[in-house]
């Protein structure tokens, strides 16, 4: 889960990384150097799109912040407006600690070319070390980073301390990424994180029971919020640019791989997918719970519903019952617009249940895909008439 700048900075501050004095508007921090007004969005490149503004007076802060509050940057709503004391800058650097998934290790990346997208910086200007988890971040590695950035004397010593604190933040907060860009060296020789991009590990939430959920989630669709409550994985494609064109299809699959493959079966044929749910073991929690998950799928308001479940050791009866129960609720889609492909132990029983309930059933993914595409094409033709 991605955090907004001010949420990420709060985590850095807990580990002793200096941040600028700041507050969520309408609160405004005291400052005798002026203020920066910063739109809290997850997307990068805010500065270039008017998401970071400077103000000299309190009146100007209020005027600009009022305008920014409740607006949008691109297609993302501004979740909050963060006002910071303006920093004096001697030089901008780059520092990040992250999980390098292919190497299976934590990497630390630093560069004297800060304030720009790190992808734009030539490799020769980027220093990188990999942390062996069995020994931790070693002294020689921190010194290597410091030397690569050409830092000497007191600022160099403090930089080493900052690197350690940044890696501590990554590991102790169970983050996948902690990026400080720009990292500012002030004329007084202090290091301050001027921005923070933090991505937390969804799977480590249980280790941080006191931590609030990410603020950006609050503007998610009702569909996404309901998926989280039910412990399933939801994908809401209606927010994509360009948005899927009607008639759309909503998908439900078991297992990440199968759900993605099902998505491809439809999307690669040029048909709009409104979104998907990956059951993520929901079936083990019973028929009623699974019916709630399926009702959540209906929130996508798609024209066709495609259920694709392939189980090895489990019977699909419970899923069939859950589907029929969800379909008998008010505002459920018409049964003729539902396509079910199910495989599992005792699948003949599910076939009988579903066919008696008026749903199309097939054990074959190819046949199910063909049926979905045929329904969509019929609906398109009717819409033209």
């Amino acid at each position: 889960m991605k955090l907004l700048e001010y949420e990420g900075k709060a985590l850095l501050a807990r580990h002793g990384v200096a941040i600028a004095f700041g507050a969520l508007w309408p609160q405004v921090p005291a400052s005798d150097t002026g203020w920066m007004i910063k739109a809290q969005v997850l997307a990068g490149g805010r500065g270039k799109r008017g998401g970071i503004l400077a103000a000299q007076t309190r009146e100007e802060v209020d005027r600009l912040a009022t305008k920014m509050h409740g607006s949008a940057l691109g297609n993302e709503p501004v979740h909050a407006v963060y006002v910071e004391q303006k920093l004096r800058v001697a030089k901008e650097y780059y520092l990040a600690a992250l999980v390098d998934r292919d190497r299976g290790r934590v990497s630390v990346i630093a560069s004297a070319a800060g304030g720009v997208d790190i992808e734009q910086v030539p490799r020769s200007e980027i220093a990188r070390v990999e942390v062996d988890p069995l020994i931790g971040l070693a002294g020689f590695q921190v010194q290597h980073l410091r030397r690569s950035l050409g830092l000497q004397t007191e600022a160099g010593t403090q930089f080493e301390d900052l690197v350690r604190r940044t890696v501590d933040t990554l590991i102790e907060e169970d983050a996948e990424l902690v990026e400080i860009n720009p990292l500012i060296l002030t004329p007084e020789g202090r290091w301050v994180a001027a921005d923070a991009k933090v991505v937390l590990d969804d799977d480590a939430v249980f280790r941080h029971p006191d931590r609030p959920g990410p603020v950006a989630w609050s503007t998610d669709s009702k569909f996404m919020q309901r998926c989280r409550e039910l412990g399933v994985i939801g994908v809401d494609s209606r927010v994509c640019v360009p948005a899927p064109v009607r008639p759309t299809v909503a998908l439900l699959g078991n297992g990440a791989g199968l759900t993605m493959a099902t998505y491809d079966q439809i999307a690669l044929s040029g048909v709009g997918v409104a979104g998907a749910i990956e059951l993520h073991g929901a079936l083990a929690r019973g028929v009623a719970h699974t019916a709630e998950v399926i009702s959540t799928l209906f929130l996508l308001e798609a024209d066709v519903v495609f259920i694709n479940a392939f189980y090895q050791l489990r019977s699909t009866d419970a899923l069939a019952q859950a589907l029929l129960s969800a379909l008998s609720a008010p505002r459920a889609p018409l049964r003729e617009c539902v396509v079910v492909r199910m495989r599992g132990v005792n699948q003949e029983m599910s076939k009988k249940l579903l066919e008696e309930g008026g749903c199309f059933y097939t054990p074959s993914l190819s046949d199910a895909t063909a049926r979905v595409l045929q329904l969509v094409s019929t609906l398109s033709r009717e819409a033209v008439k």
Partner: protein, 296 residues
Amino acid sequence: MTILVGADSRILVQGITGTTGRLFAEKMVAHGTPLVGGVTPGKGGELLAGVPVFNSMREAVAATGADAVLSCIAPQFVTDGIFEVVDAGIPLVCLYIENIPVHDAIRMCAYAKARGTRMLGPNSAGVVSPGRANMSDLNDNNMRPGRIGIVSKSGTLTYEVIDELHRHGHGESTVVCLGGDRVIGTDYADVLSLFEDDPDTDLVVVIGEPGGGLEYAAVAQAAAMRTPVLAYITGQGSPPDARMGHAGAVVGDDERSRPQNKMQAFSSAGIAVARLVTDVGALVTQTLERAPRASS
């Protein structure tokens, strides 16, 4: 011969007295998988599914000569559990549990590598050589011994590909699930090199997905192999930034993580690529006809 597990494997279930562990143990015994015991601290001396339960890995290894472990213990104990398996010198462990914090996975993988244990997972559906040994959640009745190898992060997609193989008259030598997490113990290239040395595997299907770049090492390995390889990369239509259920499967800012670029890498190396999962079966037949394995 097969790879990783076979009729001469000596398998333990870690957490054998738990709900998941017990189900696996009973399934293994019912279908003739060489299960030699299980481990649950405090339950040593019991019998379950006809095999002995031990208090520790070291005891179990001393008594049974076990060489493979399927780990299905509760998530809060799993890091220590994997450390214990590695410490006992077991050459192969499959970690079935999902939702493991990535920093725990990093430590487990590093320790396993340092001590010479091959770890599949976290979040691996397991490994199975049909008709010989099944250390996975796949149903023995849904598999057919044969000559096609499969290596995949996803479990459910192997079900689909196996189904595809059967529709086209093929069967499986070994099916290896690497796990869908961001950091995993074994990669595609490792498994491909094992398949290359297996005289009973005629072709390998690589199933990739969005996220990370382990598929690129697989391209290099596959290009150097005599055994033909075929790739299918799922998630081509996935919206950017959406977690589709696998912690690792996110189409991110990184160009390399995109399925289309992975497919391109395979194609450029002369490796056949299936566009849809329902194209895999026919493409396997076609690839086998075009490139019969040199008899060696």
